[in-house]
């Protein structure tokens, strides 16, 4: 039985073979019957294959375009009790396909190592460590002492314990962030004094206070919100804001399953193959959330095309559409005039090898039955030979 299946490896896709093997066991088929089914499967499989010259790119575009018209235009949706909003529907799909550098709602899904993922309290602790903390979140009071011309900051001890920060670390981070201040530690917090005095001292002090409130002191930069969520049997953390490289370094984080929805960041940290998979996952998520049905092969086609060159290229005039050789094809996508003007200034040639430019010129397009051409090897020698042959024939 095993050998029978081995015979068909390469003739049929592995998934079909696996399914067949399972089904045959359930139905208790005899080898002869299995062979019959497999032969029939090959016939059907070969019929289902795409023909040479089929315009798969256009079919993909149509398959995305039609359901796209039915997607909700409602950009914000709050998933369950989560306070983290995620871009969905058509706007998100456009973001993915254009490969935008900055996306509207960057977000991460952080998985925690198994030993920490069971207890909600432990997950919360990890979440608090990851979240980017600003000084205003750990400070209880900001006072301006007018007589001494200094700022007095009172820290919330409980909050500091929660994020595992030491007052000394906070002071160090503040000194790195803001120049020309001297900080002294006190019992309740610290006092801050500008090193240089100016004419508008009080004004400066007030400005400094506002600046200090927004200063980063602890956590991972870029992660603005954290939200522990139960998924299956374990807890994961969903974040707003993303910083994959730094989050993967956190010891409690399971670095093999944590992911972000930012394509370019994924490509930078995990490489182009991971970015390709992210495109597939994210686009698939959009389609699924909207309750639509687009075949996975269309998404694979787009993802492969976007990652073909080793970097992510969106379907924009600066991305893969801009890579087209034909001037007319580029002009037909976006901003036709600049393309035509540049091409005429540079004296570019158009080989008319693709579809759209031939449609414009009312010529047969190289697709399907229009694809094959007659090719004859006609070097100068063979032409001469034929000519002499003809002459000899006419002489006769």
């Amino acid at each position: 039985m095993e050998d029978l299946y081995k015979e068909y490896v390469g003739k049929l896709p592995g998934k079909i073979l696996n399914d067949m093997e399972k089904e045959a066991k359930v139905r208790d088929l005899k080898p002869a019957q299995v062979k019959k089914v497999l032969e029939y499967l090959i016939e059907q499989y070969n019929q289902a294959k795409i023909d040479p010259g089929e315009a798969i790119g256009i079919i993909t575009a149509e398959s995305f375009g039609e359901p796209g018209t039915q997607m909700t235009l409602n950009v914000f949706h709050f998933a369950g009790v989560a306070e983290v909003s995620v871009t969905q529907g058509l706007p998100r799909l456009i973001e993915i396909l254009d490969a935008r550098k900055t996306i509207k709602t960057p977000s991460m899904e952080i998985c925690i190592k198994k030993e920490f993922a069971k207890e909600p309290t432990q997950v919360k602790k990890v979440a608090a460590q990851i979240k980017e903390t600003l000084l205003k979140e750990v400070a209880e009071e900001f006072n301006i002492n007018v007589s001494k011309m200094q700022l007095e900051v009172k820290l919330n001890k409980a909050r500091i314990k929660e994020i595992k920060a030491k007052p000394e670390d906070i002071i160090e981070n503040l000194e790195n962030a803001i120049k020309k201040i001297s900080i002294k530690k006190t019992d309740e917090g610290f006092t801050i004094k500008p090193e240089e005095s100016s004419d508008h001292e009080l004004m400066e002090l007030y400005k400094l206070k506002e600046k200090l409130k927004e200063t980063y002191i602890k956590g991972i930069k870029g992660i603005t919100h954290v939200l522990p969520v139960k998924r299956g049997s374990e807890f994961i953390i969903i974040t707003a804001g993303t910083n994959l490289a730094d989050v993967l370094k956190v010891p409690e984080v399971d670095s093999s399953r944590t992911s972000t929805n930012d394509l370019h960041e994924t490509a930078k940290v995990l490489g182009i193959e991971a970015a390709r998979q992210t495109i597939i996952n994210e686009a698939g998520k959009v389609i699924e959330d909207q309750g639509l049905d687009v075949d996975i092969r269309h998404i694979l086609c787009i993802a492969d095309t976007m990652c073909r060159s080793g970097v992510i290229k969106g379907i924009t005039r600066s991305g893969i559409t801009g890579e087209k050789k034909s001037v007319l094809a580029k002009a037909s996508f976006e901003t036709p005039l600049p393309h035509l003007v540049n091409a005429s200034l540079l004296g570019e040639n158009d080989e008319l090898n693709s579809v759209i430019e031939n449609v414009m010129l009312n010529q047969p397009v190289p697709l399907g039955t229009g694809l094959p051409d007659l090719v004859a090897k006609m070097g100068p020698k063979s032409i001469k030979k034929k000519q002499t042959e003809k002459k000899e024939e006419s002489k006769k």
């Binding site: 182009i272 193959e273 080793g310 970097v311």
Partner: protein, 80 residues
């Protein structure tokens, strides 16, 4: 001076298994699809997922992905 850290393979669900493809297989693939090496899909030499392989430009990487349509689908990229 900081010691040069040897890059390690990334262990991540999004990163598929990648190995350097030997010459024989490369020529097999190229003749199968009737293409030149530079017509293969590309991968940057600085790509973090292949740093550990210590590749050179012109090498072909064999990628075994797990896919929704096949248990493992094989893909090739040329290093640039």
């Amino acid at each position: 001076m900081a010691e040069k850290v040897k890059p390690t393979t990334i262990n991540h669900i999004l990163v598929p298994k990648q190995v350097i493809c030997d010459e024989e297989e490369v020529s097999k693939v190229l003749s199968k699809y009737n293409i030149r090496k530079d017509q293969l899909p590309k991968v940057s030499i600085k790509d973090p997922s292949i740093l550990a392989l210590e590749v050179e430009a012109g090498d072909v990487i064999k990628i075994s992905r797990s896919s929704q349509t096949e248990p493992t689908s094989v893909f090739y990229r040329v290093v640039v």
